[in-house]
């Protein structure tokens, strides 16, 4: 029955390479593998390979290599289930009485698991009824239910690879920002070349001054004033040229480097704002602020001062070396002797310094994080009298900073003096060798003087070049942290070929949606169709996933499985900004920006006229309280809207949502912090506005949702009931229980 070599039918199946032979010999002739799941965990959750494979007639499974295979013929009563917890997925095979097998895998394998289950169900269906299942309209991706391109089973939406690390030559990547200034940079470079060359003229003039003027004079000859005047004039001219060229170059390059760093700051910020909420959820504010603020500044300083100096130094050294060799190769050789030593030292210290500086940057982030934690939360700090503890935390962060700096300075402080020492030694060698050569009449005193003048500069440069090590490493560390942001691909990516959203009707369709925050599964298998213009009331216990669902519909996060469509278009195929324009959102925690109330209302439509702003405020019942403020609509609200009450802030954010006149309106507890009277008013206003718009309203106070066309009751990430208030009351289910509970609390409040 079994064959010796893998039959050909396995080759075009989805079986991973490492399992082909092992599985191949178990297959019957004409038996094909339909789907495969390579599991990576064993029963006891240890990392170990395993395989579950589905053929037309059976399910086969093997643990680690060498272990026995198990198999189950497909047939009635079998079902394949999957669930996941803490990053581990489980696929279970059951019949009606018991569990037959269970396989564990890390979520990296989730896609394959879902494919296996889909195929399994299709095959069971085929065996049961003799007809293949209706292929659900078209060829769909098992994870996101998005239609697959014909003849492909890789879903373009799901297989987005995010894991390519950035290259290490980070500083060179700054070129991307330098490119627009190519012309200026070239000019600057030429100027620099000229200026450096000009500074090298003067030591060259020492040579004839010595040999033709001073030494002949010592030997009793006359000093010729014209010759001296010529040479001195040459010195002056060289100094003047080098001064003016130096000035022009510094000016141009400083301008350019400021522009480069400003561009960099802006593009980093722009990129940052386009990243998904998930990114912000995982980052600390202080860290992001320090990256965009101080790191880009540091890079600017590096570019405008240190990098320039460095290039000048290199030019200088190269030119000097050329001149020295041309004057006297032997002397030049001796002079250049310490150079390799210094290069070696620089190399040695570089790595250590770089990691040190990276660490220091991170600690700086920590220090700012303490600040950005405490200052917004100052009321809590004071309320619980924890000032001292926060000070201690700050002191601790600072101490850590100091500690790292101290450790780094140990290396660093040794480095500079060592370079100076080597310089001195180098000079010593040149003196000794030079004197010997002069005594042998191989070189003139003038040559030696010129050499000493040159290498004075030369080594001076080496010294400052060694300094560049630290600033370069600092800048590289900063650049790396900036490119960390720039390289981050949004987990809510813009589609490559966005679909144009035509006039929106507002039909929302959720299809088998599942969602996880990290490994925490929050929404599971949720399907819902919302008709254009319908008002949906979303109710359920706290933590049941209502806000999460709204986040998904707004595409703040992308679904982990399933798909959300608006007017039949997958929202992942629309540009994010284009899509969000059609959504008005009032959040659970309203946020006001620093600025006037009018600005805040017009946030979503900066061009709105005053009349429109007032109309929106009126509709949100914010108009009157705004008028009571001393400066009316021009009143400034502070950070996070301090100075306004919770309810007032909420009404402003309602007005903000109304002003953009969206086709879809989402109200997440929009009326939670207003009193019942105001709520009724807002409710009346909302009633008008809701008309004709698709609305999803979340409310804990169920009475506010009376007007909803349908109520959707959620529990632990699933929809448990859907229907109108009266229907659901009749059914006496989850909604009824929620309602009764509220009624009781309302009564007990009245009794009090």
């Amino acid at each position: 029955m079994t064959q010796d070599s893998p039959p050909s039918n396995i080759v075009r199946s989805p079986v991973p390479e490492s399992w082909r032979t092992a599985l191949g010999i178990r297959l019957l002739p004409e038996e094909n593998v339909l789907a495969c799941l390579e599991v990576d965990l064993d029963e006891r959750l240890r990392f170990a390979p395993g395989l579950v494979a589905l053929t037309e007639a059976r399910l086969l499974a093997a643990g680690a290599a060498g272990e026995a295979w198990s198999e189950w013929p497909l047939g009635a009563g079998l079902s394949l289930l999957h669930h996941d917890h803490a990053g581990v997925g489980t696929v279970e095979l059951r019949n009606t009485e018991s569990r037959l097998g269970a396989w564990r895998y890390t979520l990296a394998q989730n896609l394959a698991a879902l494919r296996l289950i889909t195929q399994f169900e299709a095959q069971q269906h085929l065996l049961r009824t003799g007809v293949p299942p209706d292929p659900d309209g078209d060829n769909l991706c098992p994870t996101c239910k998005a239609p697959l391109p014909p003849d492909e089973d890789e879903c373009p939406v799901c297989t987005r690879e995010l894991h390519t690390p950035p290259s290490t030559w980070t500083l060179f990547r700054l070129w991307r920002f330098a490119r627009p200034y190519e012309g200026q940079l070239l000019t600057g470079f030429l100027l620099m070349l000229g200026a450096t060359a000009a500074t090298l003229v003067s030591p060259y003039l020492y040579l004839p001054l010595m040999d033709e003027v001073l030494i002949p004079f010592q030997n009793g000859q006359h000093i010729a004033p014209t010759t001296v005047a010529w040479y001195l004039g040459g010195l002056l001219a060289a100094a003047l040229v080098s001064w003016s060229l130096g000035w022009a170059k510094t000016y141009i390059l400083a301008l350019v480097s400021e522009r480069i760093s400003a561009d960099m700051r802006t593009s980093t910020y722009e990129h940052l704002l386009h990243l998904s909420l998930e990114y912000f959820g995982g980052k600390r504010t202080g860290d992001l602020i320090s990256r965009i603020g101080s790191e880009s500044d540091r890079i600017s300083v590096f570019l405008s001062l240190h990098a320039l100096d460095f290039i000048t130094d290199v030019l200088m050294i190269v030119m000097t070396a050329v001149i020295l060799v041309s004057i006297n190769p032997w002397l030049a050789l001796v002079t250049l002797l310490p150079l390799p030593f210094i290069a070696w030292m620089i190399h040695l210290v570089r790595d250590r310094l770089r990691t040190g500086f990276e660490k220091i940057d991170r600690v700086w982030g920590e220090v700012t994080n303490v600040l950005s934690d405490t200052i917004p939360g100052i009321r809590v700090v004071k309320a619980f009298a924890q000032e001292q503890r926060e000070v201690d935390r700050f002191r601790e962060a600072n101490r850590h900073n100091l500690q790292l700096n101290d450790r780094l300075n140990k290396t660093w402080s040794l480095f500079s003096p060592t370079v100076s020492f080597l310089t001195e030694v180098g000079l010593l060698v040149v003196w000794a060798f030079g004197i010997w050569q002069v005594s042998q009449h191989r070189v003139t005193v003038g040559t030696l003087t010129a050499f000493l003048a040159y290498i004075g500069r030369f080594y001076g440069r080496l010294d400052s070049m060694s300094r560049i090590v630290s600033v370069t490493q600092r800048a590289a560390a900063g650049a790396k942290r900036i490119f960390d942001i720039l390289d981050h691909v949004s987990t809510v990516p813009e589609p490559l070929n966005p679909v144009q959203l035509p006039a929106v009707r507002g039909a929302i369709e959720l299809r088998d949606v599942a969602f996880r925050y990290g490994n925490r599964s929050v929404i599971r298998g949720l399907s819902l169709t919302i008709h254009p213009g319908e008002m949906i009331g979303l109710v359920g216990h706290s933590g049941s996933g209502k806000s999460t669902l709204v986040n998904l519909i707004c595409r703040f996060y992308d679904v982990s499985e399933g798909a959300i469509r608006v007017d039949g278009i997958d929202i992942r195929s629309l540009t994010v900004a284009d899509y969000r324009r059609h959504i008005g959102l009032v959040l659970q925690e309203p946020f006001l920006f620093f600025g006037s109330i009018a600005d805040n209302i017009a946030y979503g439509r900066p061009g709105a006229s005053r009349a429109e702003i007032v109309a929106a405020a009126r509709a949100a019942h914010a108009h009157e309280f705004i008028l009571r403020l001393p400066q009316g609509y021009d009143s400034l609200v502070g950070e996070r809207g301090q100075g306004l009450s919770g309810g007032e802030r909420q009404r402003i954010s309602i007005a903000r949502a109304l002003l953009i006149d969206p086709r879809m309106l989402i109200l997440d507890e929009a009326t939670s912090s207003v009193d019942t009277e105001t709520e009724k008013e807002i409710q009346r206003a909302l009633d008008n506005l809701v008309a004709g718009r698709t609305t999803i309203a979340i409310a804990h106070r169920l009475s506010t949702l009376r007007k909803a066309d349908r109520l959707v009751v959620m529990d632990r990430g699933r929809i448990v009931e859907v229907g109108h208030h009266d229907e659901l009351m009749e059914r006496q289910g989850a909604y009824w229980r929620l309602y009764q509970a509220q009624l009781r609390t309302a009564e007990s409040h009245l009794d009090d």
């Binding site: 170990a48 690390p165 490994n519």
Partner: protein, 156 residues
């Protein structure tokens, strides 16, 4: 020691079934540690499939052998926090970076998305989350070998 007024069994589907003091059967109950890292052996709750607490155990050790074993088995099959014993290699010091590690559950590779996915739980303890949300624990940095420490240090 404790007269258990409740009973625990495993059914054919591999699920735990708890019969409480009032004789009510709860299928598919789940034991949960309250402090899986700080105090894994204290404060274990048995919660029902819909997330309500049914039983609270101050210490697992106080239980008779039969339910204790069941609970321990179930915990072992649910908890997945591999403890990193050694860092064999990292693909780059810039994130995202692929780490090859030896853990108490065998060798594996994972992708670290950013440095902020490494969180300090104490002066020497780290929790590292990979791109799929699996949490890896480094219980004591000082207990790692030199090479691992040096690699890890670049990310801290």
């Amino acid at each position: 020691m404790t007269e258990s007024r409740w009973q625990l069994q495993r059914d054919g589907f591999g699920r735990l079934v708890l019969t409480d003091a009032d004789g009510v059967r709860h299928e598919g109950v789940v034991p949960v540690r309250s402090f899986p890292i700080a105090a894994p052996h204290e404060g274990i709750a048995v919660v029902s499939a819909d997330g309500h607490e049914l039983v609270w155990l101050e210490r697992l050790a106080d239980l008779p052998a039969q339910p204790r074993q069941l609970i321990e088995q179930e915990l072992a099959g649910r908890e997945f926090v591999p403890e990193i014993r050694r860092l064999a290699a990292v693909s780059s010091f810039a994130t995202p970076s692929t780490w090859t590690v030896e853990t108490d559950r065998g060798e594996t590779r994972f992708v670290l998305r950013g440095e902020e996915d490494i969180r300090r739980l104490g002066p020497r303890m780290l929790m590292i989350a990979d791109t799929h949300g699996i949490q890896y624990l480094v219980r004591d940095i000082k207990a790692l070998d030199r090479v691992s420490r040096r690699l890890l240090d670049r990310f801290l």
